[in-house]
């Protein structure tokens, strides 16, 4: 028996927001008479932490402490439209809507504060819950006092609404795929190196280390970014070596109907995970953020496949890289067909071998 070690590498990109855009998010904010801030948005928090991130964006944008924010996404009567929590859009698109709403609230606070302080709003700024005159910090009024003045003195509601929508990018030439506008908001980038150990007698693959780098634009909450990256890494590991709804695909036999016969990664599968964050700000995300929630499970499978090849000289190109596929690969020791300048792998999997000819993958030589 021998355990073989291998390393592999992959680099990927992923778009933020719905493909071709056209996916709005809206938000509105009101200020209570004591200056506390109520945010209403329709973004579901599926664990990704959008309640937290959007609250942080509002606190930062208005200039008040985080714990002054209440965030309500609980129902469609009070919350405006959010297309949803998918397409890595909850921070990028929905967070931008919240930022726009918060900017309006900030503007209104400055306007009322200007009246109270008799200073042009343009000469005021808000810091940590206080409206302060630029260059004259002794001239100030607290946001709670501004809110009280608005409510009881000026007869005004401090409120703000915002929406984010990138227009739908139509495919104007379906034959070529040409679009009339950019079909994405921002693109995020990542790279991953994987280290594996392969048992050449049982075919078992153990992923021992994942080293990953993500350009997140701006980590609005670094801890939550880590949570996305680590969670994604383990899902990528599942994709790479464990999970399948159809163990004998394309057959539908022997589907696992329970944990134990469907192999989701557990704590004992956890490799060492090292992560490097790059912050190259996006143009139109809130505070330069990019969406990285989804791409977090995309780089590991190809890095693992390359690492398995490095370890045992076998390309397994059907996922997951099961022990059986490893053993079959070791047994076949398949070499690509070389013909002229062509190097052809995996011919037995191709439509050219399986279809009766109605569909072919023709490659010019």
């Amino acid at each position: 028996m021998a355990v073989h070690k291998g390393r592999g590498f992959a680099a990927i990109e992923y778009p933020t927001g719905m493909n071709q855009n056209g996916d709005p998010s809206q938000a509105w904010i009101k200020v209570k008479p004591d200056g506390r801030i109520d945010v209403f948005a329709g973004t579901s928090d599926i664990g990704n932490g959008s309640k937290t991130i959007q609250s942080q964006i509002v606190a930062e944008t208005i200039g008040v402490p985080y714990d002054w924010i209440t965030y309500d996404n609980s129902n469609t009567d009070s919350s405006p439209v959010c297309t949803g929590t998918f397409a890595s859009r909850a921070t990028f698109v929905a967070g931008k809507a919240v930022e726009k709403a918060a900017l309006k609230v900030r503007e209104k606070i400055l306007e009322i504060a200007g009246k109270e302080l008799e200073i042009d709003p343009g000469d005021l700024e808000i810091e940590d819950g206080e409206v302060v005159a630029k260059g004259a910090p002794q001239k100030k009024i607290s946001v709670p006092d501004v809110a009280a003045a608005a409510t009881w003195g000026h007869g005004e509601l401090i409120t703000g609404a915002g929406a984010q929508l990138k227009p739908y990018a139509a495919i104007v030439e379906p034959e070529t795929g040409r679009v009339d506008l950019p079909p994405h908001s921002a693109i995020s980038y990542a790279a991953c190196a994987a280290e594996v150990e392969v048992d050449d007698e049982t075919g078992e693959v153990r992923v021992t280390r994942l080293v990953q780098c993500y350009d997140v634009g701006k980590a609005i909450n670094p801890t939550l970014v880590e949570g996305q990256i680590e969670g994604g890494a383990v899902q990528g590991l599942g994709l790479g070596v464990l999970e399948s709804c159809y163990p004998y695909y394309p057959s539908v036999d022997h589907r696992g109907g329970e944990f134990g016969s469907y192999l989701a990664p557990g704590m004992e599968d956890l490799p060492q995970i090292d992560t490097i964050i790059i912050e190259n700000p996006s143009v139109d995300g809130p505070y330069g953020a990019k969406g990285i929630g989804e791409m977090a499970n995309n780089s590991q499978p190809p890095a693992i496949a390359a690492a398995v090849y490095d370890a045992i000289g076998v390309w397994v190109t059907e996922l997951p890289i099961t022990p059986e596929r490893v053993l079959r690969g070791l047994e076949a020791k398949a070499e690509p067909r070389r013909e002229g300048k062509k190097v052809v792998f995996d011919e037995e999997l191709s439509v050219n071998s399986v279809s009766n000819g109605s569909i072919r993958f023709e490659v010019p030589a």
Partner: protein, 456 residues
């Protein structure tokens, strides 16, 4: 103190660790009926008989809903993107996957609901199933969908998603080597810890309060409103707190059926899928079949890529045409390839319809293109980092859709990993930047594709 960039605690962190977060299954409404579904026991069949009368007369059974009860039976969830409807909320004439819902029951408790499901008389005439996307085009393949075996409503009623860029024949003619491979990532489950769950309460004012685990409150509300043919102000979705989704809860899997049962019975109803239903009947990430041929030079330039994708959509279209389009837009990965010919088909098979999942449409292409990239480097005997850095997209390069990249970070992410892994790069690769191509990084074959970043 700065809020953005700070490691602040979760907004709902204390709720989570005290067990007080209210998920849909934690909502308590007195008088709630339990829901169970009659599902197809086979992969494909014609429905020749459906008789719910015996089940309806069972004590404790309050309502049974089948296709006859649905005001708008077929509604395309992505109709707004031009993808027409093809899937009935409840099966009418035929079933196309094992587990497809045919009727739903609301009864006093779970056991009664299950007993009623078993008392529904269902007659099926089983038909051969199509399971291999590679055989879907064959003349002897069973035709399993009203549109044929693959989606045919892309723009201009094309039956495939097509990308063409540059001169593919030139690329293959001028290649030193052509590397071909096939890539097949599997269907996987989303496995949120919270299974699909819904509670619907018919209110005295005629509205429906719908407690939902959807990832997309307004999207799902639109789906329910369309099937029920009701204005949005008749519905109130309550949710926003979801026990994991990963894409699977973009499907509006339970809300519409529960709403129909609540309306018919006049009682609150609740449906929580078992883990077994979640594993066997809920939509999955799609399996994909991808074939790539890259035309490459001996020093590692990728001159062109030809690609065929068969997206195993399962029994109905759902979001698959969208996913395939997104897939096609990213089929060069993080690299600039000037000459492209991509053909992709969203193929129907008799398996559970597939849906969005983390990385939708792109997880597959990342696996295929990156594994292929490693292979290309290996075939050419070149360093896998260097080949990638060379072809990496840069500011000013154009995507498969001719969109100019304005802020790609492929180069710095690769360099960061090389450094972290102690992978020694030559000096010129260590100091490369993501900036506009010039000099040796702008060979003749890449000149024409360069665009103007100011345009975007």
């Amino acid at each position: 103190m700065k809020a953005v960039g700070a490691r602040l605690p979760r907004y709902d962190g204390v709720e989570h660790v005290t067990g007080r977060t209210t998920f849909v299954d934690d909502v308590r409404v007195p008088g709630t009926l339990w829901v169970k579904a009659l599902r197809s026991p086979v992969h494909r069949a014609d429905i020749t008989g459906l008789d719910t009368s015996a089940a309806e007369s069972m004590p404790g059974v309050h309502a049974i809903v089948s296709w006859k009860d649905v005001p708008l039976l077929e509604y395309g969830h992505l109709a707004a993107l031009g993808i027409p409807a093809d899937e009935p909320l409840l099966a009418k004439d035929d079933v196309r996957y094992k587990g497809q819902p045919i009727a739903v029951v609301a009864a006093e408790d779970e056991a009664t609901a299950q007993a009623a499901v078993e008392a529904i008389k269902l007659d099926l005439n089983e038909q051969p199933a199509l399971l291999d996307v590679r055989k879907a085009f064959d003349s002897d393949a069973p035709v399993i969908h009203q549109w044929g075996n693959w989606y045919n409503h892309f723009e201009a009623e094309m039956d495939r998603r097509q990308i063409r860029k540059g001169d593919i024949d030139w690329a293959f003619e001028h290649a030193d080597t052509i590397v071909q491979g096939v890539y097949r990532p599997a269907a996987i489950e989303h496995v949120p810890l919270e299974t699909q769950v819904c509670q619907v309460v018919p209110e005295a004012n005629g509205r429906l309060t719908i407690y939902s685990c959807t990832q997309a409150l307004y999207f799902s509300m639109g789906v329910v409103a369309a099937h029920l043919q009701l204005p949005l102000n008749r519905l109130k979705f309550v949710g926003g707190t979801v026990g994991g989704g990963f894409g699977g809860k973009v499907d509006t899997a339970t809300e519409t059926m529960c709403s129909l049962l609540a309306l018919k019975s006049g009682r609150p109803v609740k449906w929580r899928w078992t883990r077994e239903e979640e594993f066997l009947c809920s939509s999955t990430r799609a399996p994909w079949h991808m074939e790539i041929a890259d035309a490459v030079t001996k020093d590692g330039w990728i001159l062109g890529r030809k690609m065929l994708t068969l997206h195993d959509s399962g029994a109905y279209a759902r979001f698959s045409p969208y996913g395939l389009t997104k897939h096609s837009f990213h089929h060069t990965g993080a690299y600039t390839i000037p000459n492209l010919a991509f053909d992709g088909y969203a193929v129907f098979t008799n398996r559970v319809p597939t849906t969005a999942m983390r990385g939708f449409g792109v997880t597959s292409i990342s696996f295929a293109t990156e594994t292929h990239m490693s292979r290309v480097a290996d075939v050419l005997g070149l360093d896998p980092y260097e080949v990638r850095l060379k072809n990496a997209n840069r500011i000013g390069d154009t995507s498969p859709n001719r969109v100019v990249y304005t802020d790609p970070s492929t180069v710095p992410t690769i360099q960061a990993i090389a450094e972290a892994m102690g992978h020694e790069l030559p000096a010129d690769y260590r100091t490369m930047t993501r900036h506009t191509r010039e000099g040796e990084l702008l060979p003749e074959h890449l000149v024409a594709q360069v665009g103007n970043p100011e345009d975007h």
